[in-house]
């Protein structure tokens, strides 16, 4: 929040944008080259069907193969289209348009498809990378020799490899690298733990155990390594499952919607014309590859830019059906309200007339306190610093923006975390990306010395993570009760209250049923006599918009000059390349006209070829951006408090629309040129 030194200034943000553009272009070029075989593979997939459809009179294996190829591609494309589009909510859009599916919540079709698909991929992942069972506990005191064995194995595996240059360079010239987090669990240790679990399950673990005395620290270490091995194998399994999901979805997206469109076009307009177009695309390899690369790079960059704008747009957009107000101090930034303000706000809400008053006030109100700190106060780094929102755990899935819309496994994890946080006030939830930066994982304990709540040290245990790609994946949430108890303990220790004990309410969130309710409550809250110090209430989207207003020029630049410029370049490049192609094929086009092809058919052929290459290139650009950029932790760019932006699901339709439209517009002049070719002029030899 402003004043805490964690936000990015406009100048820094602009510089980062310039740097981002350069990096994106470079990455896009490499990604385009690497995905070129996939592009031609996708074209080849369609050509196989055309070959099979035309094959006749084949015998034996050829006949079987052609029969298979005649049926499989369209059937698979239908299936892949249904699954991939269903997974990303395309079939719920009619419901969104008429209002039966609200906002950005997953619709019924998307939820159903996701559940089936996620369950299926989980079963595959569990078979491919089974994790260690978490249910078996080992009493190390009964098998201390096994404990010692495990600790010895750990030490052996963790020992650094021998330095081959030790004899040449003295030790002090090769200082050890600073650890960036707990070391990964070695594979040998995981295998040993799996052995112990199997032995424990079949009852042989404690048989013949050497009960000689072993130091308690060894038993504790063994328990720690056992626990970490279990968590690491579970994390590896989750990673494997995520990778399987991503690969299957990528394949479905590439072989689904666009090939299906080609098959349908061939069915409706005739196969031969489509075959002619596709073969023309494939035969001019250099020209097609250049068109693909140009569209890919530009759409990739545009997708990343729009991802940032999309996120900013979403948070500054007013949502009348899920109206949230933010109550903050009126005249001070950062806002630091008294805890007692909460009860006053609740009382004011209770005074609202029916129809404006939320049904259950407790379910529609949430407080935030900002608690920042470091794991190593003597040597603060971005990796060991963390910023918490201290709030009521039960409000996470009811009020937290973005978390209310989770479903499936992600929602279940947060639900379990809420229960855990209610039972254990030291339990925290941290974003997946933040955990990666800190080198921590679920189950880890850590101490944090607060920077703003001086002299308070918190001892946390990580019980869950916010999903990667969500708005909170670089954030952290703690139990407000822990903060309050620590403030009380401070007062008990020192005999006087903590300086921030009467300023520990930074924000109050209130959800209201409609804009009228908001207006009524806002008028009450903004009344100067009600609160001291005075507070104000704004709609969530307005609060963000006000906060982001210094970046308006930057957003304008990204939205208009930059985006339009990129679109114009894409269109121009497409136009040049397609124009060259038409000029090269002037005689062929004239021959088609001689044979009786109408000018509009020739126009359709050129437009169709451009559309196919444009849509497929654009789609691959955004599919690659969606999977790779999100897997790598999103687009790193600091704007105010937001440091990372992820490519949204909507990007999957941006690609084909932008790529296809650019190619289509770019092909207008060349296709008019093709339309206008006169066979007599091409074949005449008038001197």
């Amino acid at each position: 929040m402003p004043g805490m030194g964690l936000e990015t200034s406009l100048v820094e943000a602009t510089y980062q944008l310039m740097l981002l553009l350069i990096i994106l272009v470079i990455c896009a070029v490499f990604a385009g080259i690497l995905t070129l075989p996939i592009f031609y593979g996708a074209l080849g997939y369609k050509v196989i069907w055309f070959w099979a459809a035309d094959s006749s009179g084949n015998r034996g294996f050829s006949k079987i193969l052609s029969s298979f190829c005649r049926v499989f591609p369209p059937a698979f494309s239908i299936f892949a289209t249904l699954v991939s589009l269903g997974y990303f909510g395309a079939f719920d859009w009619p419901g969104r348009l008429v209002g039966t599916v609200k906002g950005y919540k997953p619709g019924p079709t998307q939820s159903a498809v996701k559940e089936i698909f996620d369950g299926f991929t989980r079963r595959i992942g569990e078979k491919a990378a089974p994790s260690l069972t978490q249910d078996v506990q080992i009493d190390w005191a009964r098998c201390p020799d096994k404990a010692q064995e495990l600790v010895d194995l750990w030490d052996e595996e963790q020992a650094p490899p021998p330095d081959p240059f030790k004899a040449i360079f003295p030790a002090y010239q090769n200082p050890p690298l600073e650890p960036t987090g707990p070391p990964p669990v070695p594979t040998a240790v995981i295998a040993k733990v799996a052995e112990y679990i199997a032995a424990a399950q079949n009852g042989s673990l404690y048989e013949g155990a050497n009960r000689s005395t072993v130091d308690k620290s060894v038993l504790r270490a063994a328990d720690n390594y056992f626990d970490r091995a279990g968590k690491e194998s579970k994390a590896a399994k989750e990673k494997q499952i995520s990778a399987i999901r991503a690969i299957i979805l990528y394949v479905f997206l590439i072989l689904g919607p666009i090939p299906l469109m080609v098959f349908i076009t061939a069915f409706l307009l005739g196969r031969r014309g489509v075959v002619l177009g596709m073969r023309n695309i494939i035969r001019a390899l250099l020209r097609t590859s250049l068109t693909y690369l140009a569209v890919f790079v530009l759409v990739f960059v545009l997708c990343c830019i729009w991802s940032i704008l999309s996120f900013i747009g979403a948070i500054t957009k007013q949502n009348d059906s899920n109206l949230k107000g933010i109550v903050t101090e009126k005249h001070q930034i950062p806002s630091q309200m008294k805890p007692s303000h909460l009860s006053t706000v609740k009382a004011l809400i209770a005074e609202l007339p029916p129809g404006e008053r939320p049904e259950n006030i407790e379910d529609n109100i949430m407080t935030w306190a900002f608690v920042g700190g470091s794991l190593d106060p003597a040597k603060r780094t971005p990796q060991n610093s963390i910023f918490f929102f201290a709030t009521e755990p039960e409000k996470l899935t009811k009020m937290m923006p973005g978390l209310e819309d989770l479903n499936g496994e992600e929602r279940s994890q947060i639900d379990r975390a809420v229960v855990e946080m209610a039972k254990n006030k030291t339990a925290v939830v941290i974003g997946a990306e933040r955990l990666r930066q800190m080198g921590k994982r679920i189950g880890d304990h850590f101490k944090m010395t607060s920077m703003n709540y001086k002299n308070l040290v918190f001892d946390f245990v990580i019980v869950a993570e916010f999903p990667l790609g969500s708005r909170w994946d670089t954030s952290a949430v703690m139990n407000r009760k822990y903060l309050e108890d620590e403030l009380d303990a401070y007062a008990g220790r020192t005999g006087s209250p903590h300086p921030l004990s009467e300023k520990c309410m930074n924000l109050i969130w209130v959800r209201l049923p409609n804009p009228k309710a908001f207006e009524t409550l806002q008028a009450k809250i903004n009344d100067p006599g009600k609160f001291s110090p005075a507070v104000k209430m704004e709609i969530e989207s307005s609060a963000y918009a006000n906060f982001l207003s210094p970046y308006k020029t930057l957003f304008w630049f990204m939205k208009y000059p930059l985006s339009i410029g990129l679109l114009a370049i894409t269109t121009l490049v497409a136009s040049l390349v397609i124009g060259i192609g038409v000029r090269e094929r002037k005689t062929e086009i004239a021959v088609l006209k001689v044979l009786g092809f109408r000018p509009w058919m020739v126009l359709g052929l050129v437009l169709g070829e451009a559309l196919l290459v444009g849509m497929l290139s654009g789609f691959m650009a955004t599919a690659t951006a969606y999977s790779v950029v999100n897997a790598l932790g999103g687009i790193s760019m600091g704007i105010a408090f937001f440091n990372r932006f992820y490519v949204p699901d909507d990007a999957l339709w941006w690609g084909p629309v932008v790529g296809g439209t650019s190619a289509l517009i770019g092909s207008i002049l060349p296709s008019i040129s093709a339309y206008s070719i006169k066979a007599s002029q091409v074949f005449s030899r008038v001197t």
Binding site: G270, G596, R598, K678, S684
Partner: protein
Amino acid sequence: MAAPSSPLVRVRELYKSFTRGSEEIRVLQKLTLDVPEGEFLALMGPSGSGKTTLLNLIAGLDTPTGGDIHVGQEHVSAMSESELARWRTSSVGFIFQFYYLLPVLTAYENVELPLLLLPMNKEQRRKQVLTALDLVNLRDRMNHRPSMLSGGQQQRVGIARAMVTDPALIVADEPTGDLDTKSADEVLNIMQILCKQLNKTVIMVTHDPHAAERAGRVLHLEKGKLVLDDDRTTELGKRQVATV
């Protein structure tokens, strides 16, 4: 199809000119000509005499500046571009000097191309394509692309493509111009078969006197005018038409 006694192609006072800058170039000048059905007609003349232009006008690839062209019952010179395209599909077959097969299609697919514009199902098309390929003795090469065929074979595919829609009129622009003697003979043999056995009317532009010898009638053009009409089917066939 014209009645047996009336010519298939009737050209009256045909006039064609092009404008180049401010200059008007007269390519054909008041040309009148009849071509009976089933005739093998060769058009000869020096470069720039207008023979290719005449061919293009008769085939409906271009429109005259003046005069009339009738092919069968159709008033070709009065048709719009899309009407001409539709008419050409089923009524005219065109054979090019450089074959102009589509390189991305096989021989079968190249021959099949014109049939895609007609209301036929796959089996009907296949039957006609195979008939056409049999006529030119290239059924065994039907799955080959043009790059895998010799010049003569490509031209034979071109002939098959020209006659696959069973047109009454076949026009050929220097069909043997790019071929060796043997291939040229094969192509000319096929064209004679088209005329004599299938009663097609063939109009061929050529510089090659050997090719012209195969024709039943040779017309000589000079500066856009018909100067000699050498009809070898009649005893008194040869006549001076005009002095240029």
